[in-house]
């Protein structure tokens, strides 16, 4: 609507557009170093955080990002919304739209929900994770973190291991990494490798060691037991042995290989504690970068409506 700028998915962005957002995020990173960690850029603007699925990290990160840009924020989470009372998503959003927010940040359990809002609501929509589709700000922060450590994305080998089928983090990462020229290999048990995943720009393998071999980055995904409605692997023990990351497996990667995880970690399932807390782990950098990426995204989206 009216030329609003949205961020619905990384799949819709070109390589230069992604690079631009990463550059912006890099600049915003500096704000955290100052005495006053706040700029007046979005003063008088309203950002609604509509989180209809449980999330602490992403919501906190978006909220702080908006506040550091001096926006007014309004946070609505699953429990407190009328969605539970049977109101549709669109009705909830229309009610919020009556306050004329500039940006609605949406976290929702159904894929495509941000597209529904973008088509019907007059506000910039930022996807904070929709079902198993995408989590574009997570994808951007993963890219930013890798770029900061490796100085490049192009030409890196990145292994993504775990439940690819149900992971929006994986989809955004695959799309973003491959668009910037990385060689992406996804790996997981066959029940967690969805058909046609290669079309997103990666290769797939069932063998963990093959995925990890000579990798520059290994990204482990969280096993989301609460989301699984069917039997996709026999036991945690078997999963940890075949698809978890331990120090021995990590040695097959390049010596300076980075270890990433979107959190929260199931210690001992997808990541051995020694690896999670080891020198190659950049998990905490991911959290820090999440803030600058979200500031960059809010800044970028807020600029769209005026043209």
């Amino acid at each position: 609507m009216r030329g609003r700028r949205h961020l619905l998915e990384l799949a819709a962005l070109s390589a230069p557009e992604i690079e631009h957002l990463l550059d912006l995020a890099d600049s915003f990173g500096g704000i955290t170093q100052r005495a006053i960690k706040k700029v007046p850029t979005l003063r008088g603007r309203t950002v609604v955080n509509l989180f209809l699925e449980a999330s602490t990290r992403t919501r906190t990160s978006f909220e702080l990002a908006a506040k550091r840009l001096s926006a007014d924020t309004l946070s609505i989470s699953g429990g407190s919304s009328s969605v539970v009372k049977g109101e549709t998503l669109l009705d909830t959003a229309r009610n919020l739209a009556a306050y004329q927010p500039d940006i609605i940040v949406l976290r929702h359990r159904h894929a495509g929900a941000p597209h529904l809002l973008a088509a019907n609501i007059d506000a910039s929509i930022v996807n904070a994770g929709d079902g198993a589709h995408e989590h574009p700000t997570q994808g951007l922060l993963d890219l930013l973190t890798i770029r900061q450590h490796k100085r490049r994305i192009d030409g890196l080998k990145v292994a993504i291991i775990g439940d690819i089928a149900h992971s929006r983090v994986a989809r955004s990462a695959i799309v973003g990494l491959s668009r910037l020229g990385a060689q992406v290999v996804v790996c997981g048990p066959p029940t967690m490798l969805p058909p046609g995943i290669e079309a997103l720009g990666c290769t797939a393998t069932l063998c963990r060691d093959e995925a990890v071999a000579d990798a520059d980055v290994v990204m482990m995904l969280r096993i989301q037991k609460e989301r699984l409605s069917e039997e996709l692997f026999p036991s945690d023990r078997e999963y940890a042995r075949r698809y978890g990351l331990d120090s021995a497996t990590l040695r097959k990667a390049k010596p300076d290989c980075l270890v990433m995880h979107p959190g929260p970690i199931n210690r001992g399932v997808e990541l051995e504690p020694a690896v999670a807390d080891g020198p190659q782990s950049i998990i905490l950098d991911q959290v820090t970068n999440g803030l600058s990426v979200r500031m960059a995204v809010l800044y970028h989206c807020a600029g769209g409506g005026e043209a």
Binding site: H110, A111, L116, N120, R171, P195, A199
Partner: protein, 434 residues
Amino acid sequence: MSEVTLITGGHLLCPWAGLDGPGTLEIIDGQIVAAHAGGVEPGPGAIRLDATGCLVTPGFVDLHVHLGEPGFEHREDLASAGAAASRGGFTTLCPGPESAPVNDHRDLTEALVRRGRELSGVRIRPVAALTRGLRGERLTDMFDLASGGAVAFGDGDRHIADAGLLRRAMEYSRAVGRPLFVWPEDATLVHGGVMHEGSVSTRLGLAGIPAAAEIAAAWRAVVLAEQTGAVIHLGPISTAGAIEALRAGRAKGLTITASVGGAHLHLTDEEIGKAYSTALRVRPPLRPRADVEALRGALAEGLIDTVTSLHRPHSAVEKEVEFDLAEPGMAGLETTLGLVLRLVDEGALTLRRAVEVLTAGARVLGLPEGTLAPGAPADVVVFDPKSKVRVEAESLRSKARNTPFLGQALPGRVAWTLVGGRVIYAAERGEEWP
């Protein structure tokens, strides 16, 4: 005094009656009397419809529709369904049993047939439930329902999980003399899927329905039909794999007919990737291009008998939601003729075959209508296959707007629709001529 209607100046096209040429169709008291090669001088009091530039064909027969009534009148009712059907050239509708209450009782079947004709203007020929309450447990009183007007039996789009029950139902249906409708989709393989499982569902993060859900169910039905000798109808089908099952059954000489939805002959799962449009959430799901091509081939070849609208009217409440939560189905009564004629334009079907696939439902069910042969009920549609009609929310006669074809111009403008010799739809200039 007899009521005489003459449809003159048009091109009579009826594969079942062997008609394909200019001529005059003579209707007396609701029955087709003769097709004259030349003109006929109208007697006093005769109604004359000038069909110059138009095709004159049997009215279309649709095997899979939802009428909304009873139970879902906010989506559609008998009057609006009839209005939509007649504008789309349909004169016989076979509503599935998934109404509320379920059509598993003779009283409801009879009421539907009687009130349906009265309120909709078209012939309503229900497909009654195969199991009580569609629960897949106990068979309905099939003889009783048949004498009440049920033309076939089936549990609509519900999967009958119990193969033993399906076998018994097939056996029993032979005595009842009505075909058994099998909607080939194994619910355990669907498992919450909302679109075709493949690279598009993977990209969109939507749960997929594997082609195997349909193929496995189709083969099971074919194998059981062979075991029981039942007359079955497989449909709607959407995959190349189900076509193979159908082909194998036919090769064995089994009496298996099949149908396909009009939209499934054009749209692929790729379309959903554009913006998660809930108008594209349908059952069976839209499949990849290769399946669409296979369906077109099987339809042209005669393996698939008939095209259905798969009319599933929904209100905005049911569609302006997340894709996962949207009710499946699209409204189809007013677009199916156009979609079939578009196949003709694209060279995928001959015009003659197009008319055949729109009327073959009557042969599937053994009905008297759906032909211009002398003695048949005068269910006739007169349409201009070249002229295009734009699908617009304002001009649709259905209550529902859930069609992905809004804004598109589809070929085929219906001029008149007759049921039992009576005009139930006449295009008005200004409304229909853009």
